[in-house]
Amino acid sequence: MPTFWLVILLGVLAAAGYVLGRKRALASAGGDAKALHSLPGYYGYHVGLSVLIPALGLLVVWLLAQPMLIESRVSAMIPPEAVPESTSRSLVMSDVRRVSEGLDIAVDQGVLSNRDIRSMDIKETDLRTLLGDVGVALGAEVRPEVLDAARSYRTLSHRGQWAMVVSVLLVAIGGLGLSYRKSQKDFRARNVVERAIMALLITAASLAILTTVGIVLSMLFETRNFFGLHSWTDFFFGGTWAPNFRGDSDLSILPLLWGTLYISIIALIVAVPIGLFAAIYLSEYAGPAVRAFAKPLLEILAGIPTIVYGLFALLTVGPLLVRIFGQGENGILGVDWMSGATSVLTAGVVMGIMLIPFVSSLSDDIINAVPQAMRDGSLGLGATKSETIRQVVLPAALPGIVGAILLAASRAIGETMIVVMGAGAIAKFSLNPLESMTTITTRIVSQLTGDTDFASPETLVAFALGLTLFVLTLGLNVLALYIVRKYREQYD
């Protein structure tokens, strides 16, 4: 792991730089710290940062750019006729990477030497068994073009790695030398160091933007690939979801969207009344003792990981619902409407439980923000407390509560584990809440787990689904935040 050691080495260089820079600055002032422009430590920091920042920056850029450059160089070497009809260039490239990885391991274990690899003739050597012996399984025989490409991939990667180590170290030593020479008593070390730290702070803050850009770009890119392979009209307006890994699938988002919305609606039907009434009671009626006891307990529900709710749905709520609505004569109601534990109702009810604290604490904040004068006015006119709440407080808080419900809805739409475990896997349009249905998030999980092939529409559709999900939840959030903010301004 040369990169790891490189980073350690940079750290050591920076620490040495700190000591050297500090010493030289003090020496230039004849050992009298008062004669320096800045505190002596700043001269040390200056040298240390001059070693670290450019070198680490170069390292990161190199690590990001090298695979891309090598990939495109090697990919251009593969002649178009070497790409078989049924596959794509990216698949051939993944073969190339695997072979080159396998060759690396073989060299590490001493099975092959670098000279063997250079002189290897694919017609004479059985590379597939050879690599299989060192633990790299290949799907098919290695073709000569692939071996050639893998060879140059390997040499390029190795060369790139060494070039990286050398250039990063050169930059680090250069930074050390330059900043060491500058460490004189008149040098304004503090100002320079503070500017550098400021730059670091700004970089950290822009990482948030970078994440969003990363999310959008990565999904947009793969979604474009998906729409190149699959018609967008079928995705948005088709009626069936039937992925078929041999190709020719029906991939339409509509049945998934229906399942998602149906489950979310049931969740909201459970969560909104309970959460809202809990919030009203806690903020308007409950004394401080009840509030101090009930509020944190309710909020525990929000801190429980969703996997726990998922298990609860699958193993407790689902079988309970089957006992009530299924099993024919043996069931509680004596009807046979439900066959399996996974259903829209199972997932919806459990998700509703999860959302109760979400709705209640948001509405609680909002109800508390309604000015006391409005309540006092209403009570003074002779209204009872519940009349005040229904006719004065709630209408005043309504926009905020709508915002809270929208936020809860966005949570419900993006929730994954509960629906993966509780909702089932059948995509269909149905109004029966006792049937199992599937959602956008469950399909993303099922299309992207296991062996994924990034060239087939069945895998790439997950990115289109993800992008839709992202846009949907983002839209709901922005709308909700806008409503809440506007409402707050009204009474501030």
Binding site: M1, F4, L64, P67, E194, I197, L200, I202, T203, A204, A205, L207, A208, I209, T211, G214, S218, M219, E222, I274, F277, A278, I280, Y281, A294, L297, L298, L301, I304, P305, T306, I307, V308, G310, L311, L314, L315, I353, I356, P357, S360, L381, T384, S386, E387, G414, T416, M417, V420, I444, V445, L448, T449, F454, A462, F463, G466, L469, F470, L474
Partner: protein, 455 residues
């Protein structure tokens, strides 16, 4: 509404007013209004009760169904390590002993089982193969490992504690009964009779099972041997990555936004961005991780490093939001005083504001970590599920880069398997996960109570 608007319809009442209308007796209308008041209040109480009851049901379900995983059924057996089977040449050469596969150890276990049953004088029509069927498939492997470690014990009789197979374990825990095993190929009623007899003789007993907490996951066939220890290590390494990246980056970003950022469109965008990132579904971060870290950067699939990176991006908004709140709570007079005695703005922040905000930042970080620890969905997409990591990682690099699982992903994996014995494992795993979360949150609350200063 008010009485005035209803006067026309209340003509009858207005005529009575001069006579009645005492404040001490309630008329029908007041009673109705008071009843509505009581109803409304009852709805509120009911809502809170429902919420708390859900919590209670959830906790009791977890505890009642999960505690079983911490106990396991063991069978104590005297096994004679026959030289004729294990070391035919009799020269105690380790290479030769290694050639005997687990298959070769099976007769020893069968024999030991038969001897034990005969010694106890239990009448049973079972063959020795079916008797040995009470043991876990792990037993022979355990025996072989012991012999390879202590080759000098060959020829002697050694006492072993073997795991019982999951049906026997389930029978002792009440999960399996004679009715439920009618179509079960793994166990027969006759075997259960033997189990009853052996329990009475004290050979089979249920004790605390430390292997569940420190052991590794096992294959589909051996639920009794599965443990959560290795995936706990996976979670630990992910948390290390999250802590090492999210804390410095989050604090740096918050310091900039709270202390230095000028009010302009760029900082506005950053702020809106952060509040939106906090609400992006976690699975979207998993897609990002798959596309960027695995597909583009070719980092290893299933590695805790990748999981940690994804969770870092997910936790960053939480940490930034709480750090900014902590920085905001430090009064401006502290900054003014520092600036007044000649500190630069940077010095005022790093020497005075940041130390005062540290407890708040720490609390927020712990809560963010707890959130990341329980997160499952993004881990499914980067492949931290669906395989068995058998050994605990030994070095830091190994822990970060070799495939592993994480606690919630392991629980999901168990919940997916068909054998109900794994469900008990899943609930047990949840107990451990919740113990971690409760501890972290308690530490956060204590830190806040102990160190938070109010100005």
């Amino acid at each position: 509404m008010t009485d005035i608007s209803q006067t026309p319809s209340n003509m009858g009442r207005t005529e009575q007013t001069p006579k009645g209308g005492s404040l001490l007796t309630q008329n029908a209308r007041t009673r109705k209004r008071n009843a509505a008041e009581m109803r409304f209040r009852a709805y509120g109480i009911a809502a809170i009760m429902v919420g708390l009851m859900m919590l209670l049901v959830l906790v009791t379900t977890i505890v009642s169904r999960g505690t079983g995983a911490f106990q396991q059924t063991f069978i104590t057996l005297q096994v004679e390590l026959l030289e004729s089977k294990l070391d035919k040449k009799g020269n105690r050469n380790l290479e030769d002993i290694k050639k005997v596969t687990t298959f070769g150890y099976a007769p020893l276990v069968k024999g030991a089982m038969q001897t034990m049953v005969e010694d106890l004088g239990i009448e049973t029509g079972l063959k020795s193969k079916d008797m040995a069927g009470l043991l876990s498939k792990n037993a022979v492997a355990q025996l072989r490992a012991y012999v390879l470690e202590n080759p000098d014990q060959i020829g002697e009789t050694v006492e072993f504690r073997f795991l019982a197979q999951s049906r026997v374990d389930g029978y002792l825990k009440g999960r399996v009964s004679r009715e439920t095993i009618e179509n079960d190929k793994n166990i027969s009623p006759a075997q259960l009779d033997l189990v009853d007899a052996l329990v009475a003789a004290g050979v089979i007993e249920k004790t605390f099972n430390i292997d569940f907490i420190i052991g590794s996951d096992a294959s589909d066939q051996r639920p009794e041997a599965a443990g959560i220890g290795v995936s706990m290590m996976g979670s630990l390494f992910m948390m290390l990555v999250v802590l090492a990246l999210a804390l410095p980056i989050g604090v740096a970003a918050s310091i900039y936004l709270e202390e230095f950022a000028p009010k302009n469109w760029l900082t506005d965008i950053i702020e809106v961005n952060i509040s939106n990132l906090a609400a992006v579904p976690s699975i979207v971060f998993g897609i990002l991780g798959l596309a960027v870290f695995i597909n583009y950067m070719h980092l290893p699939m299933s590695a805790p490093l990748v999981g940690g990176l994804v969770l870092t991006l997910m936790t960053l908004p939480t940490i930034i939001i709480s750090t900014r709140a902590a920085l905001k709570a430090v009064p401006p007079s502290i900054r003014d005083a520092a600036l007044g005695v000649g500190a630069s703005k940077m010095q005022a922040v790093f020497h005075h504001v940041l130390p005062l905000a540290a407890p708040g930042i720490l609390t927020g970080t712990i809560i963010g970590l707890a959130q990341a620890l329980g997160e499952t969905a993004p881990l499914l997409l980067i492949g931290m599920v669906g395989f068995i990591a058998s050994n605990a990682p030994e070095t830091l690099a190994d822990g970060l880069l070799s495939p592993n699982s994480a606690m919630p992903a392991q629980i999901y994996e168990w919940a997916k398997r068909a054998d109900p014995a794994f469900y008990e494992r899943a609930w047990g795993g949840i107990i451990i996960l919740l113990v971690f979360l409760v501890t972290m949150n308690t530490v956060a609350v204590i830190l806040r109570r102990r160190f938070e200063r109010r100005w």
